[in-house]
Symmetry: D2
């Protein structure tokens, strides 16, 4: 359904980088969920990035609720959230002689072909990372719904510019999730974080950019959620995660590393832990046959390096069909992985709310809280 | 939508491993597409596996068309395809003392929880790889539709048990796709293939199993297909690819390797090639901003080792809540990666037909053929 | 989604009138619902019609479950049901000189245009009323799910050939629903039924056909089901009801009669009945703002007269673009309204299961039964 | 999908009567469609009603485009339209002693149950007719897309308070559609219109309200659009039409009148008209087997009388479970049928764009214009 995702809890995104506002409509969210202004402000701030590593563009990023909220709680009807664009600087991304600039690694060309030249090219238009502001706003509401029923989500930068963070404890990551919560630059091992920051600054110095890997852990999900075919937990999550700009890979549990393992090592042995069925390892990432098994859900995304770099690059003039070169101006981050992390939390929260709503009905946060 | 996938061209799967039949309903396929009996038979045979590496279970796997076909062509109305299960041997997978066996790495536990014990546990029931027979049958029709408009798909075993095949030429894989077409064990480098087979047989000897990585290339796709948010080409493909049993990771272009690259290396430079806009490299896998750019679409999946191994494994008795051990009997493959390859072709063909139908309408194969 | 309907409980239809089989896939149905063979057989028999009023075509109409059923109960996985076509007589509906006959009132022309001549014209192909066999089979399972939570559905012939039956008691139709249950020719007033039958036989005598109005009542639905916009109870039901061949109108409560009423008469006054909020009248048909109010849901469909009549009719030769005349041969009912009634029950049951599953989750029959 | 409708061209509604703004997101609309400011302003004005018959509430109803428009044309990306609420007067609809007033004929009760008391009751909240402002704004864009390919839509008040207008010429209504275009009170026979207005004013005098029937005609639709099962043209249109507040019935062609006709009269005879296949009559409303036949599509809706009347009415106190009486204050129309007419045009335009986009692809307006 194009710019709408979800079967029961659905989010619709709209906006362009240099338009009046970006935003989202969140539909199907249970009534009675607290709108946690502080959480929303924090998530918006983390998405924006406030430190020296992030773009010079500074938006206030106040989320305005046009509908669906009353007395600080969700009403159950569609929630339209908008975030004004105040700091546009279209000249930075100007069209060159009437034709859009075709930046390598960007959607300039594909957008121009798909929309036959009618789309807004400024700042990437509807393809801009700016659109994730709506996603993060909606995700913050989803996080509050999940909190109601004890589901926790955390994401950290597992690697950046080739430097590795410590990993999640795959069978018990809850404390690590809590640790990550308020962090601006989300790593488990601070010394690795410092090295990553240095590498990011070095890339900037070099007019270049770096990418990384984001790892997410989810605890508190009941077993039995997801479908065997198509609407598997992996399928639903990956479908949405690939909307995070720059994500080019998604893996669950041990992911690609499983390809080289023997079955006897890859299979997670089942063990009783009191009256609960658990697994000793969690190579499957908490999902078997597309369905949660009650263990933490663990996944990783590959984030490509920011395509906007200051180095001269080869490109074409689409109106003339000629080769040319381009030098990108304006404000651009040498890395977005630390900011994408909060988008990953948000997307995950939205997808999980949808899966839980399909399984337990539209009042799922309260149904599960009682269990 | 659970066991149905697709917006315009949609496939619905049904069946259990040891039921009467498995199958699929393919809806929304353009009328006038040839039903290529030979192609279907070949695909079914490749899925089944015929050599010494594959399961002892031998099904004739004749696809019976109950509807939607007339005079050897699709009618445009829903195509119901069924494949009889003839060689069931339920005793092999018997429930133990009334409670289902919980095999590590399988969906036995998650299925039992989700369906509250009512699902069919024999041979994995609806979770069985057997269900992919319907997917391959439907995919064969999709492949014929794509052939009509010049789209080609090929998948090979990029690695198995740690042994690597040669990779696709990311900017021009067409000849390699053709080469792979009839191969039983789909590798580009036959000597690598021989080593893989040895490793598979060694794993069997050791009562163990191995996994691998499957790489797919698609040529002939027009630029401008896919959506910027949610229904990205990556999102749609990955959603469906994670339904291939044992797939735990999906990556596009350079995928996870992009995380360690610098932006200046990761960005694909644009160049004119005659009147066509191409890229010199194809690190993005033919997709920018979720939309095809006209270059080959390249992606890889991580296939975990077959969970059915003959070694003794730890598990639990779900009725008693006690730890126990299990030794799996019956016929099981030490690897499924070589058989999963044809499933990957099939799933990809179905998703691409859907994306093209959304973009160009329900007669897309003929609309595009004329262009 | 074309031939699939439903968000959480979804049905997919397939088959052609003179193909090998027709059928349905019912997906998302709660596990543990009894497969009531007797109910299924009765519904199939009522759909077929057994008396002198109905078509000479006699099908055994045994429903074969290919999947999704175990030990007489639903497993929760997709249920594929097929019904063999045994009594085809294609010659009766032969294509004339290579081009399909274009019967007035039928889908011969529109099907031929939509499917560019590739569809199966014999007996109406995929447009045939025969396809409702799959719908009735799936509906019988849905009826069993609703029975589990106390929801009852009944449909009667409110009018046929201008003769009127007694109407449902709009605030308390439960006894009337039960009365209708086993009836071959479903009327509340048997004397009206006799006159209807006479009118039907008179129409046959005259080589003509008659239509009618079907009225449905549903009791036991909880209040609060449905959505304010788009997925209103009226919207969802009507969407599916218009798939019953020959239905050309749908109205809820007093329906079109409301257009001529004053607001003071049309509004249903609220009154307490013990601790329950009820309405004194039920002009809104149990639905306000698209959502159930706890009163019986009442609706009616307009069924046009059977288009197959033996009188000579004007039509065209599509291959030559010339006017011509047609005389339809073969076996055709002078009325289908009495058979369509069981289809209406079935469609309604499927839609209501979907709405309840969206609201209360996939185990809704058992969740509601406990309440 | 709850508050979103459409498969390829989809609209999502949000807002509450007394919230900050109402609006819609229109997704999947072809790029390059003109944003006709004049048309939008006219449609908004007609929805609002400006004459003595309509509510005292006066909104400027300026549509603000937050996204999806560039240089006066659609970009192809989601169009978010908002309309500010300026003239709220919440006190008029105050909650009584903390509990919402339960107005007969309104969604006050059903909304309160569905949303467990968290929804906004003021002015009907998300159930208010005010929400149709977003629908009309989105519909105006859809009308421009249809204009591009020659599809015309017109709706008139076929009856109001029992007074009948002249009907559409079912085989050639194009001139009548054009006549209706600018009319404030859309009737074909002005003298009937005058009588209707008198009846509306008389109802107001009597503290009561009236309803009516709206009839729509669509010309220029190609044959072959729609699906045989579920996504029939009737099913898709009715699904959306029942979202127009107060609509309780939908019929196509002769609709309920067909129930009393003989088949020989009901069937539309086919005749060649030059090289075009036409029907002499149009009892089927341009739809056979769920698919357009190239003739005008004709349908009618039953609009119940406005539920807000000034007469004393019976209701209940939901917090105490007691009977009580209510006298509604504030500004309310004695009829909405003349304003609902433009909503019907809008909804129809949106659904038809969706059906055409599914059939011909996302660029359908330009594809069809070329044909």
């Amino acid at each position: 359904m194009k710019n709408t995702f979800g079967n029961s809890v659905a989010v619709t995104l709209f906006g362009e980088s240099h338009g009046e506002a970006v935003g989202a409509v969140l539909d199907g969210m249970a009534p009675g969920i607290e709108i946690d202004e502080e959480l929303i402000a924090r998530q918006m701030r983390l998405r924006r990035g406030t430190d020296s590593l992030s773009t010079a563009r500074r938006e206030e990023d106040k989320v305005r609720f046009l509908s669906g909220v009353r007395a600080g709680k969700t009403t159950g009807t569609p929630i339209c959230m908008i975030i004004a664009n105040r700091n546009q600087n279209s000249a930075d991304y100007a069209v060159k002689d009437g034709a859009p600039m075709i930046r390598p690694g960007h959607a300039d060309l594909t957008g121009w072909i798909k929309y036959r030249g009618f789309n807004d090219p400024a700042g990437g238009g509807h393809f801009s990372g700016r659109i994730t502001a709506g996603l993060v706003a909606a995700g913050a509401v989803a996080l509050s719904a999940l909190k109601e029923c004890g589901v926790k989500i955390g994401t950290h930068i597992l690697s950046c510019a080739g430097i590795k963070d410590a990993g999640f404890d795959p069978v018990d990551p809850e404390k690590q999730i809590e640790e990550l919560c308020g962090k601006e630059f989300a790593v488990l091992d601070e010394s690795a974080g410092e090295k990553m920051k240095e590498a990011i600054l070095a890339a900037r110095e070099d007019l270049d950019s770096v990418g990384g890997v984001l790892e997410t852990a989810v605890t508190g999900l009941p077993a039995g959620v997801g479908e065997p075919w198509f609407d598997t937990v992996e399928g639903e999550l990956s479908h949405a995660l690939f909307s995070i700009p720059a994500v080019k890979g998604v893996e669950f549990g041990k992911g690609f590393a499983l390809a080289d393992m023997m079955g006897s090592k890859a299979n997670d042995p089942f063990r009783m832990k009191g009256s609960m069925i658990t697994t000793e390892t969690n190579n499957c990432g908490g999902i078997l046959g597309g369905i949660t098994n009650g263990m933490p859900v663990i996944f990783r995304t590959a984030v490509k390096p920011t395509p906007s770099i200051y180095k001269k690059q080869k490109t074409v003039l689409i109106d003339k069909g000629e080769d040319t070169e381009i030098e990108i101006k304006g404000r651009h981050d040498p890395a977005i992985v630390h900011r994408a992390r909060v988008v990953q939390d948000s997307v995950s929260a939205l997808v999980l709310c949808d899966l839980l709503s399909v399984r337990y009905g539209t009042d799922f946060p309260f149904i599960l809280a009682k269990k």
